[in-house]
């Protein structure tokens, strides 16, 4: 392929000395019914060419608003003051036409949701070409050619063909790649990425981060990456800014902040992340309460109501951002930084100490060896297939989606099995099969010793009492029309509890999940996401089940709130001796909460075993890849880690590869000599015991350290 005439500047090309972006004392406020929302209050930062600045904070901390202000994309009702200098040029006060010359040309943006960032009615190639044509005088053909090159650059296979595809024909990861291609199309000097990986699977997340790194190398641009997850930016960012209530509360080099955080909020954020590389039970720090309302902030430190270190002096004045540890590079806004510095522990351990988090004990039943405990849930070679039909009048079956292709596992009393895998691997189908309690298409499901193929409706009803479910989305899992009391009472009404008993038990359940019974007459809409998830858990526990099925219960929550819910789940397990089937795509959460883990790929379990054994010595290449894709909130470790980047997306379950299903994306397979590759193509690997309580399905299984 000959390259088109549009080229990137050489990365070293010095456009201007000094920072690309210099923000000074930025204030942004919006009008609202309850007064002005002061979303950003006096923010200052700068980004140098080629530098990656991470902006971290909970939802509503003003991180997105500040970058939208840079782009000039705020609604006209917003009041902006301060200074935003891009390459020495003031942006505030410029009209839209002026800004449009800079937007997309010199500053570009990558949005969170790649689906809504692309127009569904134009092809991906046309959209990228459009980004070029807006800013440069080139022919349409040249722009189209350039679009293909860019798609190739961001790693889309077969770019010539794929440029003609529409956004809906792309998977989420590919769409985000296309958006990045569009962002770098004009060789910008600044790229703003707003939660670019939040909506993506972990494996894809790793790919996208890698790609952003490549994009930075190619364009030499400064990057601002916005996220709520401190883990994501550890290995990627050079400097970090933590925001709270519209202000920067801590700024500094990435290593400094992770190792020596000097603001309790940063400590809390660090302590709330479950870590993949810690095998013993680590205590997670939940940050209590919620961010303050930005309309009428109290005097004093906005974090004071949630801070474990609060003293009276905190309420008198808002602490300014001051240098700490005698370094001009690291600054924090807290009057007690010296005391934090004086603490013995560092980083996340200090957080545990200061916030006083505790590890929940093991349930009584866990002392009995696993083999002697009762099996609460057993799956034996479960199969679920969907027909693919074609035609309107006469439906012909043209294929079969093998959603679940024979999976076997069991969950015993008092233990947690984590079921992990990318989206589309059949996790949810498996769950629905278990919860439906119908006779499966193939194989067998047994709950508490009762086989689902043999139960009648009466017995099925009885089983439902022992098995309950907590859903992913706390917004959708509670009926908005009924009060919390009715919601928690519903399962008990169904199973014939007396009125008195229900009225006695419901407040108890509220207390059990850490909510106040006075709130029982409220509706779900008045609760926050984390509280709603607690209500969902209370409802699940109403019938004193033995097995709770958890469908990604924390993936929709902010990290700091997630910690509280995980702690609650652990506490309940040890208190009530529950067994959990925990479905998740976040492996660090699974490592934290699960006793055993099963890794699913295309409807099959490819590795299963005791959690430490699987995480510390993964045998299957897919598990290794998954684990290596999870970021660790430790910049030093993170930079040293070698990422296994899986190429491509999950193959269609309607047409899985022959032999080993993973071979099309397998790095191990690719490195094998042809005669051994044959075995992968022809023979489906059986699940074999690799170590005590650890099985993997790979012909050439070998341990590889990835943490």
């Amino acid at each position: 392929m000959t390259t088109s005439e549009i080229q990137f500047d050489t990365p070293a090309d010095p456009v201007l000395d000094g920072p690309v972006l210099q923000v000074e004392d930025l204030h942004v406020s919006f009008p609202s019914e309850s007064g002005r929302v002061r979303a950003v209050r006096g923010l200052s930062y700068h980004v140098s060419p080629g530098e990656v600045l991470g902006i971290v904070g909970e939802s509503g901390s003003g991180k997105s608003v500040s970058s939208l202000a840079v782009m000039g994309l705020l609604p006209s009702s917003a009041r902006i003051s301060g200074s935003i200098k891009f390459q020495g040029r003031e942006l505030i006060g410029q009209n839209d036409a002026e800004l449009s010359k800079i937007r997309g040309r010199r500053i570009s943006m990558v949005f969170q949701d790649p689906l809504s960032a692309l127009t569904p009615v134009y092809t991906v190639g046309d959209q990228i070409a459009e980004a070029i044509l807006v800013h440069r005088k080139v022919s349409k053909a040249a722009a189209a050619k350039r679009a293909v090159e860019l798609l190739d650059l961001v790693g889309i296979p077969n770019a010539v063909e794929r440029a003609k595809a529409f956004p809906h024909e792309f998977s989420g990861g590919m769409r985000q790649r296309a958006v990045i291609a569009m962002a770098i199309a004009n060789d910008p000097d600044l790229i703003i990425a707003d939660e670019p990986t939040t909506a993506l699977d972990v494996t894809v997340q790793a790919q996208v981060l890698q790609l952003l790194e490549t994009a930075q190398e190619v364009t030499g641009a400064g990057i601002v990456i916005i996220t709520h997850d401190l883990g994501v930016v550890a290995g990627f960012a050079d400097r970090l800014m933590v925001m709270y209530a519209g202000r920067a509360v801590e700024k500094g080099n990435v290593d400094e902040i992770y190792q020596r955080p000097r603001m309790p909020y940063t400590l809390g954020l660090l302590g709330s992340i479950p870590r993949l590389d810690v095998s013993e039970k680590q205590a997670l720090v939940p940050i209590k309460g919620q961010p303050p309302s930005l309309t009428d902030l109290p005097d004093g430190c906005p974090f004071a109501p949630r801070c474990p270190m609060v003293v009276d002096a905190c309420h008198t004045a808002e602490p300014p951002l001051v240098d700490v540890d005698g370094s001009a590079e690291h600054s924090a806004a807290c009057i007690r930084t010296n005391e934090i510095a004086a603490a013995d522990a560092e980083g996340a351990e200090a957080a545990v100490e200061i916030f006083g988090a505790e590890v929940a004990g093991e349930p009584e039943v866990a002392k009995i060896p696993r083999e002697q405990r009762d099996v609460v849930l057993g799956l034996d070679n479960l199969v679920k297939e969907y027909p693919v039909n074609k035609g309107v009048v006469f439906k012909r079956r043209v294929g079969t989606v093998h959603a679940v292709a024979g999976i076997t596992f069991d969950v015993r009393e008092g233990e947690t099995l984590g079921l992990v895998g990318e989206s589309g691997c059949g996790k949810t189908t498996t769950l629905m099969e278990i919860l439906n309690l119908q006779k499966p298409m193939g194989g067998e499901i047994s709950v508490l010793g009762t086989k689902s193929s043999e139960v009648d409706s009466k017995r099925r009803f009885a089983i439902r009492r022992d098995m309950s479910v907590v859903f992913q989305d706390p917004m959708a899992s509670l009926d908005p029309r009924i009060t919390i009391h009715d919601c928690i009472a519903e399962p008990m009404q169904v199973h014939g509890y007396s009125k008195d008993e229900i009225n006695r038990r419901v407040p108890d359940l509220m207390r059990l999940v850490g909510l106040r019974p006075e709130q029982l007459s409220r509706y779900p809409g008045e609760f926050s996401g984390g509280q709603r998830q607690r209500i969902g858990i209370a409802r699940a526990l109403a019938l004193e089940p033995k097995l709770v099925v958890l469908d990604e219960p924390v993936s929709a929550l902010d990290v700091s709130i997630q910690a509280g819910v995980i702690n609650l789940l652990e506490e309940l397990k040890s208190k009530l001796g529950l067994a959990y089937l925990f479905v998740a795509h976040d492996l660090s959460v699974v490592r934290h909460i699960a006793d055993r883990v099963a890794v699913m790929y295309l409807g099959k379990i490819i590795e299963i075993g005791e959690v430490d054994s699987v995480f510390d010595a993964p045998r299957h290449p897919y598990t290794q890849a998954l684990l290596s894709a999870i970021p660790i909130p430790d910049p030093v470790k993170e930079r040293q880690r070698e990422r296994i980047i899986l190429t491509g997306d999950l193959p269609s379950p309607a047409n899985p590869p022959s032999g080993c299903r993973f071979r099309t994306r397998c790095f191990l397979h690719a490195s094998l000599p042809p005669e051994q590759q044959r075995k992968c193509i022809d023979v489906e690997p059986p699940r074999e015991v690799q170590a005590p309580d650890h099985e993997a399905a790979c012909h050439f299984a070998q341990i590889r350290q990835v943490l």
Binding site: S59, G60, S64, A199, Q290, F471, D486, F527, S528
Partner: protein, 325 residues
Amino acid sequence: MTVILNEGDAAGTTGAASGSPVDAAPEPDKAMTRGRLVLIRFMRNKLALVGLVVIVGMYLMAFVGPLLSKWTYDTQDYSAFLEPPYSEHIFGTDKIGTDMFVLTMRGLQKSLIIGLLVALISTTIAAIVGAAAGYFLGAADKALMWVVDLLLVLPSFLIIAILSPWFRGKSWFLLVVMLAAFQWMITARIVRGMTLTLKEREFVKAAKFMGQPARKIIAKHIVPNMASLLIIDATINVGSAVLAETGLSFFGFGVQSPDVSLGTLIGLNAESATTFPWLFLFPAGFLVVFVLAVNWVGDGLRDALDPTSTRVRRKEKKDTKEKAA
């Protein structure tokens, strides 16, 4: 979007729902029942209360009023033809000397009953048929939707007109049934569509997985979540039922003389609207006030039943900004 706005885990803190409309829990330990909550929220809506008072007042007036008057709707005062309102005939008289007050009250009686009953029956049928079709799908759905489509293509006015000789002299309730039978189909289709989406919501699945039987899921989770739609639909139906009855009566198919309804009165006296305004204005005014009051009550009920509806509109604006935050 995986990030939730306004996220905050205020376990054990008050912040979460400060300023919420249901702060005033009388006893801290016992939860308020749903009915009581709805009532409190309804009472807070002044316009709805006014509507309710007007409706109740109209019922009282329509049924008690004629008893207090010395005239009846089928007797005439031969000393007063086309008299404007005065002390003897407070609404005046028509051209054959019938007292307009009793006549209007008689008409109001019929319209009140017909309008409300038709709305109630047709919305109930729509909710049951639509929700059942959407929830069960398969054969039930096919059969029910076939009926809906069939009724939709039948010309209802013609059928009622053809059948009217048959129910002449029989109970007026037959007319109500006929009107209701031709008014529920479009709503049923909308309800079915909404059921299809609601069915996939996790709270419906949660109810299913806890062993709740299908009919109870429909009654407890699906229909209440469409309450706004159904209530609005019912209030619109009151209006259109009264109008449909008016239309039929105008052509002589609905309410038969000497019995009257607001419809026949308006139809008969429309041409006298400018010359003898009291003949037209009283029945028409009552019709307008009645439909308006029903709508106010409908609005109030919807807001009371839907915990988010009043706040939603206000919050929407704020949310878009917070989203940007």
